[in-house]
């Protein structure tokens, strides 16, 4: 199988500090892949490099066979990459509907945008109920839904999610993860960076485990859930 997203030898440096020390990643079309690891393992740096938010010091990122490394960030969405940033990142003073249409900013097909908007309101009835409300007045979970919905409005081929469970109540985390699973089951390729390893592994097909800037191992999510190393380090169980 040829790789949909292919990362080779990615290095991210902040001044003299190497946060990501030459990692390889492969994501195939239609997969839900997760990257788990402790705080400071380099997960977010990896994702930010994929999303164009920071320039990798070394290495290559190929998407559908084409080099991404020099594409300006605002063109990535047109290439098919959408990021849902950490901490939700909605536009608090715009309404729910305006937030969603901002996600379709680069698209020109008015009719298609309309259809997709209806589709998203259909999948997220809570957003539909609040479509004229300012995004800043939504609950944390609703804002996370909105951020995902906005990313989907750009009609991406690959959805990059950064810590979607962060700061949410446990019940809301469940809801968000069922949303992510549903989006993936509808055929979207998803790359999920998450600290809540158990939930991420339950949702994903494959996982990369990151530690100190390198990939410790890479296996199917099921294997990871049963692996004693993962169980003791990330799932909080005695080995």
């Amino acid at each position: 199988m040829s790789s949909f997203l292919e990362v080779r030898g990615l290095v991210v440096r902040y001044g003299g500090i190497e946060a990501v020390k030459g990692i390889d990643l492969d994501i195939h079309r239609g997969e839900l892949v997760t990257l788990i690891g402790a705080n400071g393992a380099g997960k977010t740096s990896t994702l930010n490099a994929l999303a164009g938010l920071l320039k990798p010091a070394e290495g290559q990122i190929r998407f559908e066979g084409e080099l991404l490394t020099s594409t300006p960030i605002h063109q990535l969405i047109q290439r098919g990459l959408a990021l849902v940033p950490e901490g939700r990142g909605v536009f608090p003073r715009l309404t729910v509907e305006e937030n969603l249409s901002m996600g379709a900013y680069t698209r020109k097909d008015k009719a298609g945008i309309r259809t997709d908007l209806d589709q998203i309101f259909h999948s997220f009835p809570r957003l539909f109920e609040r479509k004229h409300q300012k995004a800043g007045t939504l609950s944390g979970g609703e804002q996370q839904m909105l951020a995902i919905g906005r990313a989907l409005m750009g009609k991406p081929k690959l959805l990059l999610l950064d810590e979607p469970s962060m700061g949410l109540a446990p019940l809301m985390v469940q809801t968000i993860f069922s949303v992510i699973r549903r989006v993936a089951s509808e055929g979207m390729t998803v790359f999920l960076v998450e600290q809540n390893a158990r939930l991420a592994l339950q949702a994903a097909q494959r996982a990369y485990v990151m530690e100190g800037g390198v990939i410790r191992f890479n296996a199917s999510a099921e294997e990871c859930l049963n692996d004693p190393r993962v169980r003791s380090a990330y799932l909080g169980e005695e080995s």
């Binding site: 999303a51 164009g52 938010l53 300006p72 960030i73 605002h74 063109q75 990535l76 969405i77 047109q78 959408a82 990021l83 940033p85 990142g89 909605v90 536009f91 608090p92 003073r93 715009l94 305006e98 249409s101 901002m102 996600g103 900013y105 680069t106 300012k134 800043g136 007045t137 939504l138 609950s139 944390g140 951020a147 906005r150 990313a151 750009g154």
Partner: protein
């Protein structure tokens, strides 16, 4: 619907009657003050695009006012012997100022917040120092005998009379400024409700999310700088023609801060609020003038220099307003909700978020 039409007609009548009433009650100098208030309203609306809409703190905005004013002064005065008409200079002022806006914007786009403020402040000073030291701008002496604004055969500087009323230039300028202010209000309103306007608020609120939604934040910020500057340039052109004399001293950093105060005091991002802020701050210092007469009458001596005293009162008024109403005197409804989350219904929804 019908009551709206009546309300519109009533406000129009008030706007037309305002200079006449002011002249009768307060005297002619106050009509002149009204003209200045309108110039400030145009400036504040221009800065509002940069600060209020796009969220870029600009402390050198007066530079664009200066560019417009000097353009008119040089091309319509005996200084260089050129007398270009307004219809050519007004769009030119907008265009040249917009280019200066882009010139300032381009190298500073990577900067945010405090850093941007410092660089823009420096830019404002650079322009003023250039104007002081160049020969073509006549250095610190400034440019005198600038042509009054003229459209067709109608000179705005001359005396006219209408139905037995003697109408000096300040009246004609008042109506010209009202029309241009209305135009700028219309453009501002259209902008805030447009695709670009929404993109600006997106950048202001979350730049990363905006970028990853595919917004070209570089272009959009440049556009905000250029558009805000264009309004500044237009006000500058009008100022030069109205005043008849300009010098670098009219374009100090204090002016930039004053315009920023108008935007913040009135209510950032809210057109009506910004206009109110501009008119209030333009008129307030003048309203404090009688204080010195009061001192003279009670103590037989002016203890505090009226100019300083006015600025002191003015500063106190500003501080008090900012403590009591940080969102501005007439904010947009959303902005008010955000800053008073605890004492309104928004408070309960915030609790729900937890």
């Amino acid at each position: 619907m019908k009551s709206k039409v009546w309300l519109g007609l009533l406000s129009l009548a008030l706007i037309i009657a305002l200079p006449f009433g002011t002249d009768l009650i307060l005297g002619r100098s106050w009509v002149r003050l009204l003209d200045f208030a309108l110039l400030y309203a145009m400036l504040a609306l221009g800065l509002n695009i940069v600060v209020g809409y796009a969220g870029l703190l600009d402390l050198g905005y007066v530079a664009f006012y200066a560019v417009g004013a000097y353009l008119y002064a040089m091309l319509a005065s005996p200084h260089l012997g050129m007398h270009w008409p307004l219809w050519a200079l007004l769009p030119m002022g907008a265009l040249v100022a917009a280019s200066f806006g882009a010139l300032l914007g381009a190298p500073t786009l990577g900067l945010r917040g405090d850093y941007l403020a410092i660089v823009t402040m420096g830019f404002g000073e650079i322009i003023r120092i250039f104007l002081r030291n160049l020969n073509v701008t006549n250095g610190p002496a400034g440019i005198d005998l600038i042509d009054p604004i003229q459209i067709g055969g109608f000179s705005f500087g001359a005396n006219h009379s209408l139905l037995g009323w003697d109408l000096p230039g300040i009246y004609s300028y008042y109506f010209l400024f009202i029309i241009l202010t209305a135009l700028i209000i219309l453009i501002s309103h259209r902008l805030s409700d447009s695709r670009i306007g929404r993109a600006w608020s997106a950048i202001r609120e979350d730049e990363i999310a905006a970028k990853s939604s595919g917004l070209n934040t570089r272009h959009l910020k440049l556009m905000a700088f250029a558009m805000g500057a264009a309004f500044g340039g237009v006000s500058g052109v009008l100022f030069a023609g109205f005043q008849g004399f300009i010098s670098p001293e009219s374009f100090t950093m204090g002016e930039s801060i004053m315009i920023l105060c108008m935007v913040v005091l009135g209510g950032m991002g809210h057109i009506s609020g910004v206009i109110m802020g501009a008119i209030l701050l333009a008129i307030l210092p003048e309203a404090f003038r009688p204080l010195s007469q009061f001192q003279q009458a009670t103590f037989g001596h002016v203890w505090l220099d009226p100019a300083n005293l006015r600025m002191l009162m003015f500063a106190i008024a500003l501080i008090v307003v900012m403590i009591i109403r940080p969102e501005g005197l007439w904010p947009s409804p959303v902005h008010r909700r955000e800053l008073h989350a605890n004492d309104s219904e928004a408070g309960s929804s915030q609790k729900a978020a937890l």
